[in-house]
Amino acid sequence: MAYSEKVLDHYENPRNVGSFDKDEPNVGTGMVGAPACGDVMKLQIKVNDQGVIEDARFKTYGCGSAIASSSLLTEWVKGKTLEEARQIKNTDIAEELELPPVKVHCSVLAEDAIKSAIDDLLAKQDKKS
């Protein structure tokens, strides 16, 4: 199956690969997996005191589309508030990367990863206050 140029670009030069310390109070970690293909995705966000996402990291084991979806997402969420980041839809990712129908589930994975990272951060902040 042919990948789009955008997918290839993210696959060959993934942005923001790596991790933050998940125990930091301003770091949210989302871990999700795709049972159908066995892909695993970890997405982390770091927010400042204003609740704006300053930085993001990801680590994905999976196909090119899954890597590209998470790489793109880490670029998109930077500078966004949590609420804005939550609005990102998998269809936006799929459209930007021109994912074929059989690979749309990779973008679903990325959307669920950012939501799970936001939930993790909010749960942490709830506990603190």
Partner: protein
Amino acid sequence: MSAETNHFALFGLEPRFAIDLDELTRRYRDLQQAVHPDRYASASDAERRLSMQRSVALNEALQVLRDPLRRARHLLALRGLEWEDEYETRMDPAFLMQQMEWREALGGAREAADPLEVTGRILDEVSAERRRIIARLGELLDGEGAPEEAKGLILQLQFLGKLIQEAEALEAELEEI
């Protein structure tokens, strides 16, 4: 009532997770013989088509029942629990973390001092976990019930199956060098 075809019934078996694979194979052969196309050489087109369909159905049923993962999933479907994998992305974080560690170790195996040893160790660990899950699935499906817990384990099995596939592919590749 579920719309799912009961593959167990096709072989006259009780819908249980524990299964005698030799008995299943025996029944499969007997049934296949009964619908063999040779028997229908002088039959009408309609009859031939019917025997062909039955043969295909038997084959599909055998594939499902032989595989622990598919058999477990079929049992849950018969009990009314079905799902689309695409929307099942949230799982136990500890389980996913373990998947990531195994994937990482497998990814680095080539650079290890003894790549085959590393690959073999991962395969052993993942296979042991797979056996543990299958045993637990048996307890749940043939005893305690708890369909949601069984579903979670089936999803985990899918990850482990994929991992074993990749580890075996790497092992085969390493052995050729």
